[in-house]
């Protein structure tokens, strides 16, 4: 269905080809997953299928790409529109019209399908993707998951034989991601659609793949194989595969179910052992209050104290952040209601909940971007939305969802100099932080040319220049590969050990399990769960990390824990 014949792509101005030696075939009706670390050219390979590379991006494509027998050299993207449907990373830049129903019909209108056919397919697609209630809604008012589903629906309606998706689930909460993936699987199984998809969050998608194409490093030729073959050699792998490699299971399990079946022996070996806390427990400012450590082994301490017990030990004025009975309204919508949250120095809190639950709004109130309608917010004793920005950066720092928003300058060096000035820090403070976080960022690099991980590191360094006791991160792992994520985890742990309180809003359950002391789950603007990570995460089927699911009922959260316990 899709055939790459010795394809290499060189962009204008680049010395080396971005990808080369791409030579494989995607058979009809299969779901093929494209995996690899960041920056190996996954998006380029995907773009070559729809013809956007090189017709739209420029550059030189050598070799031949054919889709359903059509050569992309002679067919422009618009002439492939009836066989290939493409959804890019950002659904918002995909929409042409303003309402859901018009968007679903747009592609078919361009192809000139008969009105009766269009009507039927729009109805079918609305049902298939669960969008029927949203049909008349303006797209701008939808949540991220809904927008992603509309974007997929909009390319499904012309019934393309090939679907190309670039990170379809990375912006979605676990439940919304499952919804989207279930739809894809249905398309592959029932309609015989061929799907080529790139995704960093392998734990979500690997089980759906028929084959996996691995791009191991930039410029290296891809290898194609069954998921378990590839996962045995891949530099990127989900936790369940990591566990399988650790326990020497063969063939490697790809799903939690496979792994559970083989986990009997491992579970037995682990019964006597207890998980070590992954992140050192935060220091409480008043050690004289005798308080049981909440993250000590669950087996020895079945009843954990209420989290309020710890809150009480931190006086409001000195706590990095304290929120009481907070309510926030956007127009007539109550975005947050009766939210109470207090952080202690050195504590890492993961804020979870579905898209639109109010996570970003909560972070926004902590930096004074959103004024509360009721209740109180204190950050280091100051009211954020009434504090001058210059003063506030020394109390709280936020790395926004799009780290690029924080960066203005042309070079990394200029950015760092500006950050030093903004924070009134010693010249060179920011640059030293950048080098600490990521040694290989050059001074002259343009922030726009950095990879996602590098950009995040730079934004983090800019924020940390002012040494805020409270650090907030909004969805930090979006677009990061496992290596970049591991580096981020190390960095954040180090910061917590130095006494920074950290709050991260995330959909990434593995990250939360690895890093957080405490998990706070928001739903519809209210806190529905607040407690130690192990408790909250284990109790929830959608927020449980893979290792927990495999080794339940034992309280293991991450592969690292298991590895350390067995060592």
């Amino acid at each position: 269905m899709i055939r790459f014949e010795d394809v290499s792509v060189t962009y204008d101005g680049a010395v080396e080809p971005t990808v080369q030696g791409v030579d494989f075939e995607v058979p009809e009706g299969e779901l093929v997953l494209l995996v690899g670390p960041s920056g190996v050219g996954k998006s380029t390979v995907l773009g070559a299928v729809s013809g956007l590379v090189p017709h739209f991006t420029g550059g030189t494509l050598r070799g031949r790409v054919t889709v359903a027998g059509r050569d992309t050299r002679t067919h422009k993207p618009r002439e492939l529109a009836d066989v290939v449907g493409t959804v890019g990373q950002d659904p918002l830049s995909h929409f042409v019209t303003d309402t859901v129903e018009d968007e679903l019909a747009y592609g078919m209108e361009s192809l000139g399908l008969a009105p009766a056919v269009m009507r039927r397919r729009v109805e079918e697609t609305l049902d298939l993707l669960g969008l029927a209630d949203l049909r008349d809604r303006p797209i701008a008012t939808l949540s991220g998951g809904q927008q992603q589903r509309v974007a997929i629906g909009s390319v499904l309606t012309p019934h393309p034989r090939v679907l190309v998706l670039d990170e379809p689930t990375s912006a979605l909460d676990p439940a919304a991601a499952e919804e989207v993936l279930a739809v894809l699987q249905r398309l592959v199984h029932d309609l015989g659609t061929t799907v080529l998809m790139a995704e960093h969050r392998l734990e979500r998608v690997i089980q759906y793949a028929d084959q996996v194409a691995l791009l191991p490093s930039p410029g290296a030729a891809p290898t194609l194989g069954t998921p378990s073959e590839i996962m045995a050699v891949s530099p990127v792998y989900p936790p369940v595969v990591d566990l399988g490699r650790l326990a020497d299971w063969s063939p490697l399990p790809l799903t939690v179910r496979d792994a559970r079946r083989r986990a009997g022996a491992l579970r037995e070996r682990l019964t006597e052992l207890v998980p070590k806390p992954r992140t050192p427990e935060p220091r409480t400012p008043q050690p004289r209050t005798p308080e049981p450590r909440t993250l000590q082994p669950r087996t020895l301490l079945p009843r954990t104290p209420r989290p309020t017990a710890r809150r009480a030990t931190v006086p409001q004025a000195t706590a990095p952040a304290s929120i009481e009975a907070l309510a926030v309204r956007h127009g007539r919508v109550e975005a947050l209601r009766r939210v109470d949250l207090t952080t202690a120095p050195g504590e890492i809190i993961a804020l979870m909940g579905r898209n639109g639950a109010g996570k970003s709004t909560l972070l926004g109130t902590l930096v004074g971007l959103v004024a509360p309608a009721a209740g109180s917010v204190l950050v280091g004793g100051a009211v954020p939305h009434r504090t001058a920005p210059r003063d506030l950066v020394r109390r709280v720092g936020l790395v926004p969802q799009e780290p690029r928003d924080l960066l203005y300058a042309d070079t990394v060096a200029a950015e760092c100099a500006a950050a030093d000035e903004d924070a009134a820090a010693e010249p060179g403070t920011c640059r030293a932080l950048v080098s600490e976080l990521l040694p290989d960022i050059g001074d002259d690099a343009h922030p726009r040319d950095l990879s996602e991980g590098q950009r995040l590191a730079l934004a983090l360094a800019v924020v940390l220049t002012a040494r805020p006791p409270l650090l907030l991160l909004d969805e930090p792992t979006r677009g990061l590969d496992y290596a970049a994520k591991a580096r981020l985890v190390t960095v954040l742990r180090g910061l917590a050990a130095e006494g920074h309180a950290i709050v991260l809003a995330t959909h990434d359950v593995e990250l939360a399990a690895e890093l957080a002391h405490r998990v706070v789950v928001l739903a519809d603007g209210e806190i529905v769960a607040d407690g130690p990570t192990a408790e909250v995460v284990v109790a929830s089927p959608s927020f449980a990390p893979q290792v927990t699911k495999v080794l339940a009922p034992q309280p293991w959260l991450t592969v690292t824990q298991v590895r350390e316990a067995l060592a």
């Binding site: 729809s50 013809g51 956007l52 993207p77 618009r78 002439e79 529109a81 890019g88 950002d90 918002l92 830049s93 995909h94 929409f95 042409v96 019209t97 303003d98 129903e101 592609g107 209108e109 361009s110 192809l111 000139g112 399908l113 008969a114 009105p115 269009m118 009507r119 729009v122 049909r135 008349d136 303006p138 701008a140 008012t141 939808l142 949540s143 991220g144 909009s154 390319v155 012309p158 127009g331 919508v333 898209n355 639109g356 996570k359 709004t361 930096v367 004074g368 920005p389 210059r390 720092g397 926004p400 969802q401 928003d405 924080l406 203005y408 924070a423 924020v463 002012a466 909004d474 959909h507």
Partner: protein, 371 residues
Amino acid sequence: MTRAPKAHRSNALPPGAWWIWALGLGTAASRTTNPLLLALLIAVAGYVVAARRTDAPWARSYTAFVKLGIAVLGIRLAFAVFLGSPIPGTHLLVTLPELPLPHWAQGIRVGGRVTAEGLLFALYDGLKLATLLICVGAANALANPARLLKSLPGALYEAGVAVVVALTFAPNLIADVQRLRAARRLRGRPDRGLRGLLHVGLPVLEGALERSVALAAAMDARGYGRTAEVAPAVRRTTTVLTLGGLLGVCAGTYGVLTAEGGTYGLPVLLAGVAAALGGLWLGGRRSVRTRYRPDVWGVRAWLVTGSGVAVAAGLIVSAAYDAASLSPGVVPLTAPALPLWPAAAILLGLLPAFVAPTPHSREPSTPKDPS
């Protein structure tokens, strides 16, 4: 009569119907200076908007038009006070100090006598303009601009899409500015004031450019701009018709406007328009597009259109028979009376408030969460 149904996509009134209704009201307003009739027109338009407006972003433009109308009225009155009025009046209200002007500026007056008659005349005149604006505002609030563009002929469709994209671009740009100004706060810089706005200018433009490139790629990949093969003869005919038609329109307009062209002007203009329309129609054959659920011009659409036309016709006829009651004199000062028949005709404009489908109950929109 049964009550109007709930609005959904199939029974939504075509935007054209709303525009004809509103223009009918506007035409009626242009025929009278009777403040009672004008007030009645404003009330009719306002009632229909209140009854049938949706929650959509464009529906909020009505308030802006009302404000604009009030501003126009105010400006008209201010001019009458400060620059005087040609209306001779005997009821002196106040005498402003008059600015002595040189001889060559004869006929211009600044300051001086302000009479009740002059002020009243300005009020009537301003009210007429304000009513016109409010009628246009009503059409804007009731008709979806994107769907209006969808009714363009096939050959102009792609231009229409460009306009729609541009329309959605402005709100995105504003959102970008807000986001980046917020980000300035995170850097510890003031997020208000002009400097803050200037600083984010470049990143915002960069972002807008990137987004438009991404959108163009997405549109191309979804088949935008696919054309059907047409015979070379058809293509050539299209060009000839379009160009010839445009030339004809230009020449005809010139003929109509100059004194000598009285004989050939109108026929050439009509022929030009016909040729241009033919060119458009033929050009539409190159486009393979089809329309998804185009608006249906049903009974309700006819009723709405008809009510607008009836209002306009009623006032035009009344103006011919009874000009005095439609334009009440200001010299001597008299209280305007409400002429019965024109008022009844204006009330016909209320019909849409009963026959147009009712919009959905206003449900709160979900918050836009960027995560």
